[in-house]
Structure formats: C-alpha cells, structure tokens
Amino acid sequence: MNEIGTASSSWAIEARGLTKLFGDHHALRGVDLRVSKGERLVIFGPNGAGKTTLLKILSTLAKPSAGSVWLDGIDIRNKPAQTRRHISLVSHQTFLYDDLTVYENLKFYGKMYDVPDLPQQIKTVISWVRLESRLHDRVSTLSRGLQQRASIARAVLHNPSILLLDEPEVGLDPHASTMLRDVLGNINSGNRTVMMTTHDLERGLELGDRVIILDRGRIVYQAHKHEIDTANFRRVYDQYTVID
C-alpha cells in the first residue's frame, strides 16, 4: 500500500500507533488519530495526559518511539523540513526574541520560511491580531497578552495549512483570553486545520468541531460537537479522566 498517497488524499493529520516513551514512562500509548482538512479539533486532558507530547511529535519537535505521522500526506520522518512548511505551533511560550521589535521578529521568521512579499504579509497578519500600533515596539515592552497575539502573527505568517495550539491561553487574564479567542476565530476563517489543547472546557467546546479527551497517553473519548451535551460535558470529562 502506498501509505503516503493514501494519507494525502483525505487527511490533514493522520497518526497511527503513536507511542512515546520517556525512560519507562509511557507519554503516549498507541494513539491513532485522523483530522480532516479544515477541521478544528480540540484536545482535553489532565496534566500529564500526553497532549503536549502529541503536539510536539506532530510538529516534528519530538520523535515518536513508535508509530507514524503524515501531515498533508507527507510522512514527517522522511521529509521533516518539507513538513514544517505546512505547520505552525503556538504554545504558551511565544518563540519571540525580547530584544527585537515585533516587526523584526516577524521579518526574521518570514525569511526563515521564504515568505513571499514579506512586508505586505507582515501588514496582513499584524492586522489580524490587531497589533498595528505596537509593530515597532520591542517584544519585551509588550504585555503577556500582546506577546501572545504577536506569537500568533508569527505562527500564521507563512500561511500554514495546519495550526497546532498548545494551551495558548495559559498565563492570560480573562480579557486577554477573550481577545485571543477572537483572534483565533479571525485567523481560522479559511480552510486551515486547527488542533488545540486546552484545559478550558467551555472555550474548547466553543472553538472545536470535534473534541478528544486524552488520558494517560490514550484517547479515551471523542465526539463531534453536535453529538455533545455541552451542559454536561464537565461530568463526561470527569468520568473519562483519572486524577492521580
């Protein structure tokens, strides 16, 4: 079977049997996952469930101990550099350089991704995150919420088809968190596939087309939004997750 060809035909993300070991500890235990193009998948799970590890593997930052991943049909083991052109990662860390301005940070990352017509693209993404007035300010002078918006601008600068969000709301106050949700809504108006991990059940259900609960390295629950009784989802979450 031509697995690359099969994967490329239908799925933005396809993972088979993903396992990750840190010494004797299983961070992931044979995770199988398929995400359609343009789908918004939200992953819930307690600390240590394997959410970040999963996203790190999908973003090529970590290698799985076993299993395979295809992103837009490309096997990430065979063509990691090519795969990275399709993806972007936003985490609670911004990846930005404090002593450079927002513009200089975006220019740097734009060059690393060969972004065509870079000045215009910077203008576009900075307007999406509504940060025009602080474009030439050093990152170190921005609040945490503004830094996170700049980080999102960085992440979508090269127009990735897959956006991975690892608890992007961590450390933000409620106002900044609401702003972030609006920004995420803005940048996902196209056919971008979004995969987000979060502890915020309410916000996650709002943003996602489908949700997954990960616990102890396994997918223990998954459902489409229309199948979920949002009012009782907390109970479902508690039922499927184990607190150590």
């Binding site: 973003s59 550099a81 990352y109 690393m112 060969d114």
Partner: protein
C-alpha cells in the same frame, strides 16, 4: 542556494542585532580578555628579552578563554521563550541553523581579537603592524568558532553549562591553540615564511575537520 544564504544571514543578523542592543557578551568578554593581557603583562614584565617568549601564549590564552565565555552565550539567546523550538520548527536543514550561529561566533571572536590584539602588542612593546598575525587570528578564530558553536549547543541543555563548555572546548581545540602559539612566536621572532607554513597548515587542516564534523553532528546534538 540564495535562499540558504538568506536564512544563514537572517540568523546571524538576528543574533547581531540582539547583541548590539544588549551588549551582554562582547563587553564582558572584552573586559575579561583585556584583564588577562594586563595581568600577564605585569606578571612577565621582568626583562626586555621576555616578550617574544611569553607574549604568544598570553595572546592565545586571552582569545581562547574569552572565546569560551562568549560561546557560552551563542545558544543562550535561544533558551528563553522556547526560541530554540521556534528555530527548530523552521523548514530548514539543521546545518543552516549551525552555519547561522557559526557566522555570529566568528564575528564575535574576530571583534574581540580586533580590540585586544593592538592593546596586547602595545603592552608587550611589539610592532603593531603584523599582517601575518592577522591571518593566524582569522584561521584560529574559525577553528575556535566551529567547535565553540557546536559545544554551545551541547551545553545549552546541561545544568552545569558554564563548566561544561570549557571542559569540552579546550581539549578539542588544543591543536589549534598550540599551533597558533607556535606560529605567533615565529612571526614575532621574524622567522622565514617556510618555518611557519607547517603550523598554518595544521590550523587549516583542523579548521576543515572541525567544520565538516560539526556540520554533520549538529543535527544529532540539537535534536531531542
């Protein structure tokens, strides 16, 4: 190929801009290297015949130890905000990251050498115009920078980073340090070119070995 150089330059420029704004590394390394030269100058200022004997060692101790201090910071700039992960997410070969960082390391060590060498020559009453010494410094700087950049990446994820780098760096660069001292002594003594050639060839050979090996192993060092 053009795209490759643009990316290498982008990494180099980003690091240079950061350093120009913070002046964290160059200032402290310059002060340290100058102190080494001044202290040795006082320690060895016992007779007129001494400079040619001790001066080469003093110069290269200052450059090598100053280099160690500076190389420690090459990857430190990537430590906060998980910037190294941001860099690793870029769709480039890991060697591009290494070469970008290497360009910064070479610039740093050459900048330090450019400032301390004239002061060193003046303090030891040596002629100020020594083009051959400039060539030796450039060649040795390349060797130092290739090894220093690689080991800076190794050390970044270790707890004892400040100790780890000199322990790794100095033994590996001994051939370059020893050859540089030897050829500097020959330059200061006014020896003929053919006597220096073998030492320059040794430095060049090690530069090539360091560069090839470091480029090849960098991916394994930097990956998870």
């Amino acid at each position: 190929m053009k795209s490759l150089f643009i990316k290498i330059f982008a990494i180099f420029w980003k690091d240079l801009l950061t350093e120009l704004r913070t002046k964290e590394v160059v200032t402290s390394v310059l002060v340290f290297a100058l102190l080494v030269i001044v202290i040795f100058n006082f320690a060895f200022s016992t007779g007129a015949s001494m400079p040619e004997l001790v001066a080469p060692g003093v110069l290269w101790v200052a450059i090598a130890f100053g280099g160690v201090l500076g190389f420690n910071h090459i990857f430190t700039v990537e430590k906060g905000n998980s910037r190294l992960e941001g860099l690793m997410l870029c769709p480039v070969d890991r060697a591009v990251i290494y070469w970008g960082k290497l360009a910064g390391s070479i610039t740093f060590i050459l900048a330090v050498s450019l400032v301390i060498t004239p002061i060193f020559l003046a303090l030891f009453n040596l002629p100020l115009l020594l083009p051959l010494l400039a060539l030796v410094i450039v060649l040795a700087a390349l060797g130092f920078a290739t090894v220093g950049t690689l080991f800076s990446a190794v050390a970044i994820n270790t707890r004892a980073r400040d100790i780890m780098l000199p322990i790794l760096f100095l033994p590996i660069t001994v051939p370059v340090i020893a050859s540089a001292i030897k050829v500097t002594a020959l330059i200061l003594a006014g020896s003929p070119w053919n006597e220096m050639l073998i030492w320059l060839q040794i430095i060049i050979a090690f530069d090539i070995i360091y560069l090839v090996v470091s480029t090849l192993v960098f991916e394994f060092v930097i990956e998870e």
